[in-house]
């Protein structure tokens, strides 16, 4: 769908379109317009300057069109000439397209007007027709009178003209009969039946055409339109094997081009705005939006920009940091925590210098490759098209790989200076296409070495291997899993057009829910600014659950599996472990506390606060002991903040605070923590803990160390609102102006 477009919509707005039919609650016109608005909105959402749309009202009260001088073109109203369209136009069209008070107007004449519009619009300076995607869409209720010119010659001549100009003609009718879709209007009038036949005849005479009932078109709106991108080569040059510079006789190269085969489509991105206070239009960002656009929904929007403050550590400055100007800064890199400064002239000294190249490293049998190592999108490599020698050479490589069931591993540098990549090339042989498909492979650094225990055996602490264990499936479980997996087979669950079993859920039916839901919502909102956000359409959610039919079939198997699996859900975290906490033991099971000659000390030291606090709580049995521990912990935290140079000790204070909070949650004594926090906040804000400490309180909020809410622990009487209120410092912080 790339390239230039010139589409004309003809909307039948005759007085008859006011009626409602077939049990619908909206008028026939509004029903048909659903389709039209959605299509126009799709063009709008592309934000393409070269996609142009024209709109004609048919059976309108007014007559205004390019051919209105001639007879037979009455009641056709040009609402929008073929041009770029914006949201303002859309809203104007919405206002204009209401049922008229006349039944007069000829739909075939309107098509002729549309042909004329397109012909003129697409005419180049040379007089020839330019390359456009041309389309005429007529939506009608089929109740107007049509002058068929007396014979089919008239229809044929129109069809010829349409073909000559390479226009696609789409005619959609309200309650038109469509047996494929399964609709037939029973009480059809004679006139409508004739009109349907005539319009159908016209579409049949055209090369590129569609004829259908509106209901089907509206249904199909659910199937999203996919944006296509123009292919551009990611590499153009030689695919080599061996060093053909050094060994021209015994190394080879083939001239090839490589294109993207897949590339992740992006979810449309939103920009940030604020509604300017008091509707001050002066803040309207003129350079990001065309000035001449009418801002229907975007009145008084101010663009939000990011501003950066640059700071360096300076122990002498308040807060330990001071601002520096960006202009005074040099560029560099971090090597660990060392700043490596690099002068402007040498800025690309760390850049690995490369020259474009594409060279095969070696070959691997295809069954040795694991798909999950793929690092990203695939590409397709074809031979240089105008070079038969290259085509044949590449073909021999493709067929050799195919016959040997092998893949090639290659190093590619797309363009001079780009980073090398390693890719895996597989042969693709289709009747009209021979190519190599490739996927990127990981480098050594891209592979994270995490180790996991095996799934088919259990290794005990002593190093012995056992094959029967609660973590290993029993034979029964293995069998029922196997049966269940077989029962849920999708490869033949689908039905093709002839009703034969075929693959269910193919990639070609897999539309991105995220992309199309947003697009759909944007279109809906453009058409109706006051509408609400709808849940995702059924169509987009079609693969979110297994198909009902299959589930039914597999139910007995699932039952057996559930039984064999014997899964137990772990109850929600058991609270109230207070005073009965299990003591952690080392691998040997040694009871460490029993080793101590003296009972655990009741005082907590600042330097070893966390372990001592935890141990004190573990060994305590009374509320008062918990209170003492909490009091000590609180004092230590305050002390850390008080003595901190700048923010130096903040992390430590926060860590202690976190442990304090967690323990109080476990002990179901939230009030001890909350009481401390309230007093602590006051001290912080009154600058009684070594000066300006608001920054610390901001971090308390960031790390979610505020009051313990009722939601977390029943015993707390702090509501969610109170908790978030507690963390707010109103507008006092954190920006100290720029």
């Amino acid at each position: 769908m790339s390239g230039k477009l010139a589409h004309v919509y003809i909307v039948d707005q005759g007085s008859t379109t006011e009626e409602c039919h077939s049990g619908r609650m909206i008028s026939d016109l509004d029903y048909a317009l659903q389709f039209v608005w959605d299509k126009i909105a799709t063009v709008l959402s592309a934000n393409r300057k070269t996609w142009k749309v024209g709109v004609l009202g048919l059976r309108s009260d007014e007559t205004r069109n390019t051919l209105s001088e001639e007879e037979g073109y009455e009641n056709i109203n040009l609402l929008q000439d073929i041009d770029e369209i914006n949201i303002g136009h859309l809203h104007e069209l919405q206002a204009a397209l209401k049922p008229s008070s006349t039944a007069a107007g000829d739909s075939i004449s309107a098509i002729v007007v549309a042909i004329d519009m397109i012909e003129r619009h697409c005419r180049l300076g040379t007089g020839k027709q330019g390359k456009f995607g041309k389309k005429i869409v007529l939506v009608t209720d089929g109740k107007g009178s049509i002058d068929d010119g007396g014979d089919q010659a008239h229809i044929n001549s129109i069809a010829d003209r349409i073909d000559e100009l390479d226009i696609e003609l789409v005619i959609l009718g309200t309650d038109f009969d469509d047996l494929d879709f399964g609709f037939k209007e029973e009480d059809k009038t004679e006139r409508k039946r004739n009109n349907e036949a005539l319009l159908k005849l016209l579409t049949e005479r055209c090369n590129k055409s569609q004829f259908g009932t509106i209901a089907e078109a509206v249904d199909n709106l659910e199937v999203p339109e996919v944006k296509t991108a123009k292919p551009y080569p990611t590499f153009k040059g030689r695919l080599s094997l061996g060093d053909y510079f050094k060994y021209p006789e015994t190394a080879l190269y083939i001239d090839v081009q490589r294109y993207f085969k897949t590339k992740q489509a992006k979810v449309p991105s939103a920009s940030s705005f604020t509604t300017a206070p008091n509707g001050n239009p002066g803040t309207q960002p003129s350079h990001t939006l065309p000035v001449d656009t009418e801002m229907i929904d975007a009145k008084n929007l101010a663009v939000v920009r990011n501003a950066y403050r640059y700071q360096v550590h300076d122990p002498t400055a308040p807060g330990g940091k001071r601002d520096v100007e960006r202009d005074d800064l040099a560029k560099g890199y971090e090597y660990g925590r060392t700043a490596v400064y690099i002068s402007e002239a040498e800025l690309n000294i760390t850049k690995f210098q490369t020259l474009a190249s594409f060279s095969i490293i070696g070959f691997v049998p295809s069954d040795k490759y694991e798909r999950y190592l793929n690092m990203g999108p695939s590409c397709i490599t074809i031979a240089q098209t105008v070079n038969p020698k290259a085509v044949m050479a590449l073909s021999s490589l493709i067929h050799a790989l195919f016959e040997l069931e092998s893949y090639a591993v290659a190093r590619i540098v797309g363009k001079d200076g780009k980073d090398p990549e390693i890719i895996l090339l597989a042969p693709l042989i289709e009747p009209d296409l021979e190519a190599l498909i490739d996927v990127p492979l990981p480098f050594a650094e891209d592979l994270r070495m995490y180790r996991f225990p095996p799934l088919d055996r259990v290794v005990t602490t002593s190093g012995a291997t056992v094959s029967k264990h609660r973590n290993l499936p029993s034979e029964d479980l293995e069998n029922s899993m196997s049966d269940y997996v077989d029962a849920m087979e999708l490869s033949n669950f689908g039905k093709d057009e002839e009703g034969q079993p075929t693959e269910y859920m193919t990639i070609n039916e897999n539309y991105s829910p995220a992309i199309h839901r947003i697009n759909q919502a944007i279109r809906s909102r453009a058409i109706d600014p006051h509408g609400t956000v709808e849940p995702p359409s059924e169509f987009l959610m079609q693969w979110s659950n297994p198909p009902v039919g299959l589930v039914e079939k597999a139910t007995p198997g699932l039952k057996a599996l559930v039984e064999a699996a014997d899964i137990k859900k772990v109850e929600a975290k058991k609270m109230g472990r207070r005073f009965a906490r299990e003591k952690a033991k080392p691998l040997s099971g040694l009871d460490v506390d029993s080793l101590l000659d003296t009972p655990v000390s009741q005082t907590i030291s600042a330097e070893n606060a966390i372990p001592e606090f935890k141990q004190l709580l573990t060994n305590t049995t009374t509320d008062s002991a918990v209170q003492t521990a909490a009091k000590q912990m609180g004092d230590i935290i305050k002390e850390f903040v008080q003595d901190s140079t700048g923010d130096h000790s903040y992390p430590r204070a926060l860590e202690n605070l976190k442990v304090f909070r967690n323990e109080m949650v476990t002990f179901e004594m939230p009030e001890l923590y909350n009481k401390f926090m309230r007093g602590f906040k006051k001290l912080l804000l009154k600058e009684e803990l070594g000066g300006e400490r608001r920054e610390f309180f901001v971090r308390v909020g960031q790390q979610k160390l505020g009051l313990i809410e009722h939601k977390t622990v029943e015993q707390s009487d702090v509501t969610e609102e109170q908790a978030s209120e507690f963390l707010s410092l109103k507008s006092e912080l954190p920006y100290r102006g720029r």
């Binding site: 067929h399 050799a400 269940y484 080392p586």
Partner: protein, 638 residues
């Protein structure tokens, strides 16, 4: 307001998709190496005739290992901390005095070689100097005569973690020693050590032991270390990998290599991408899984701003604030509305609506059904996969069910298809669930690929690009394909597989090599060691004859098939002829000198320069400027 360095440089808000990765990286890790320095640890291994025999003492191997790992971590996890502590040394040294240290106590016979921190060039230098300067090493690595107190070491480590990495999510102490019973019959010392170990456990520090067995003595963990090492019962799995044991025996695989590979497999903090995600195998039948990012494209860090007006260059931290354009009014998060560009205008949604638009239901992984793996086309690749492994946290029995599914998929080469939402508000994906067979390194027997399942994202229709129109293919005749087949057969990769570990990323390595040289004031490396360049000599040796043969067949075929086209092709554009009367290779030395004197050598392409260099048996790699230098040098010498 973002205070992390990653965030603030984003000029535009590509927040949504990126968010996950940054959160993931935010789980910071701190590792402290504690290396035992004793007479035995300093003994070089027994003499051996093996060529690969190592000469490093265990202690030296451990320091070298720390040195390697430090450099590695600077690249792979630049926000993580590392430190090196020697114990049992004659000398003692602790943290530098700083204003916040409260009367810092010295820990006898603990020598803090490099304090726990994000490594700086200085730290690398310190380790390097020990590794490279035997005299310095000898002086430092002098063991004390006194018995070493383990409780003292453990408390020293406790204080290092407490002060340097208080709020790190992952903190680990790596003890490298050959002494399995440091306190023998000294009960008091032993109890003190266990109490200090408990402190570390309560602090959240995990002890990893790297025991070194000597030739005459097998390390016995039960003697002492099982009393000080704790394992979270939830993490029991980790332990189920079985204990490691390292040997210093002089031949075969060096202690250093096995130490590096063992530490490597543990040094990366195992970070989960998500934990306890419900995995619905059938309607109503759930287990729980954890997700891991085992594949992560490593990129050179972005450049940053450096402030040069201080005593030492300093990295500038940035804070961003949002404000209205054309005014300096700072904007609160709650005020921000999101709008989409649409038909020349903006379509707006409130934050609530925006949130609703991202809501596709609760996070989870739900099986839709199964297909043969062969039904996943090769091209259907769009994003890296995520590894999942069962967790017993939410559903007891998850592991066995997961294992049963894994077995079935592996045995029948099937894949699951599933609807997948990784986190709240994450974009829903369709994934193929692929099983992986456990794979080990043949040399060290360390696990390379774990057994488990992978969530492999299936492309959407939206992600598929159409290739350009091409004319109908010209299928190669059998004789040509046969010729190529022989070539392919000759050039299989070692072990018939692509082993990523053999291919470090040359741009990444180069970037950090240069940075390291600059940071350490070393000489800049001349040329990159690029392991991804094909082994041309090998190819020549093994396939020259076959390639030559294939070339001849191709030439014959194309001569006969498309004689005319071929002829046209061979005529290079006229412009080119004018520019280059002759190639470099055809020039005499005198002509070359003229070109150099005229300063027009740079007009030749790098390819031309390269082929000339090759013809003179000179190295043909490097930047163009290097190539030119080399040509000039040669002309001058001749």
């Amino acid at each position: 307001m973002a205070d992390s360095r990653e965030g603030w440089k984003n000029e535009e808000e590509d927040e949504e998709e990126e968010l996950d990765e940054t959160n993931y990286i935010a789980q910071k890790d701190a590792v402290l190496f504690a290396i035992d320095v004793s007479d035995r640890m300093l003994q070089p291994p027994p003499e051996s005739n093996s060529k690969r025999a190592e000469t490093d003492s265990p202690a030296m191997a451990a320091i070298k290992c720390a040195y390697q790992i430090m450099q590695q971590r600077i690249i792979s996890s630049p926000k993580d901390m590392m430190g090196v502590l020697l114990f049992g040394t004659e000398e003692s040294k602790f943290q530098e005095e700083d204003s916040n240290a409260r009367g810092s106590i010295a820990y006898p016979h603990c020598y803090l070689l490099s304090d726990l921190n994000i490594p700086a060039a200085e730290d690398v230098k310190v380790l390097k100097s020990i590794v490279e300067d035997p005299e310095k090493a000898e002086k430092l690595l002098s063991p004390t005569k006194e018995p070493v107190s383990m409780s003292n070491l453990l408390f020293c480590a406790n204080q290092i973690f407490t002060t340097r990495a208080p709020n790190f999510g992952s903190r680990r102490l790596f003890i490298i020693t050959d002494k399995d019973d440091p306190h023998g019959s000294d009960k008091t010392a032993r109890s003190q050590a266990t109490v200090r170990a408990k402190d570390l456990y309560d602090l959240g520090v995990v002890i990893e032991l790297f025991p070194i067995s000597q030739e005459d003595h097998e390390f016995d963990r039960t003697k002492f270390y099982d009393d000080i090492i704790y394992r979270d019962p939830a993490e029991e799995n980790d332990h189920a990998l079985g204990p490691t044991s390292l040997k210093s025996n002089g031949d075969g695989i060096s202690l250093l290599a096995s130490l590096v590979s063992d530490i490597n497999s543990k040094q990366v903090a195992k970070r989960t991408l998500f934990s306890n995600l419900p995995f619905e195998i059938g309607p109503g039948f759930k287990i729980s899984v954890k997700g891991y990012n085992l594949l992560q494209k490593q990129m050179p860090a972005r450049s940053c701003y450096v402030w040069l007006d201080g005593e030492t260059p300093q990295i500038v931290t940035g804070q961003s604030a949002r404000h209205e354009e054309h005014s300096t009014r700072v904007v609160e998060k709650a005020e921000i509305k999101k709008a989409y560009k649409f038909g020349g205008s903006q379509i707006m949604f409130s934050p609530e609506e925006q949130k609703e638009l991202k809501n596709f239901g609760l996070p989870g992984l739900r099986i839709i059904g199964f297909k043969p793996q062969a039904m996943l086309p090769f091209w259907a690749s769009v994003k890296k996969s995520t590894f999942i492994y069962p967790s017993e946290d939410d559903f007891v029995g998850s592991t066995r069910v997961f294992a049963a599914l894994w077995q079935k998929l592996l045995k029948d080469k099937k894949m699951g298809l599933a609807w997948y939402i990784a986190r709240v508000n994450a974009t829903p994906l369709l994934v193929a669930i692929l099983p992986s067979q456990e794979r080990f390194d043949e040399g060290t027997n360390v696990q390379v690929i774990p057994a488990g399942l992978w969530l492999y994202p299936i492309p959407f229709v939206d992600d598929i690009r159409s290739p350009p129109e091409v004319p109908a293919p010209l299928v190669a005749p059998d004789e040509l394909t046969d010729g190529m087949r022989k070539v392919v057969q000759q050039l299989q990769l070692p072990k018939a597989m692509y082993d990523p570990r053999k291919y470090p990323n040359p741009s990444l390595q180069w970037h950090y090599q240069i940075l390291q040289s600059l940071a350490l004031d070393d000489d800049l490396p001349e040329m990159a060691d690029d392991k991804t360049v094909p082994k041309f000599r090998q190819i020549e040796k093994r396939a020259a004859e076959y390639i030559n043969n294939w070339g001849k067949i191709l030439a014959e075929l194309s001569d006969s098939v498309k004689h005319k086209t071929e002829h046209d092709e061979d005529d290079p554009p006229k412009k080119k002829i004018k520019m280059k009367a002759e190639t470099l290779e055809e020039m005499s030395v005198a002509d070359l000198r003229k070109v150099i004197d005229a300063g027009t050598l740079s007009k030749y392409t790098a390819t031309d320069l390269k082929s000339w260099l090759v013809s003179k048996n000179l190295p043909a790699t490097g930047k163009k400027i290097d190539l030119i230098d080399r040509v000039e040098q040669w002309v001058e010498d001749n």
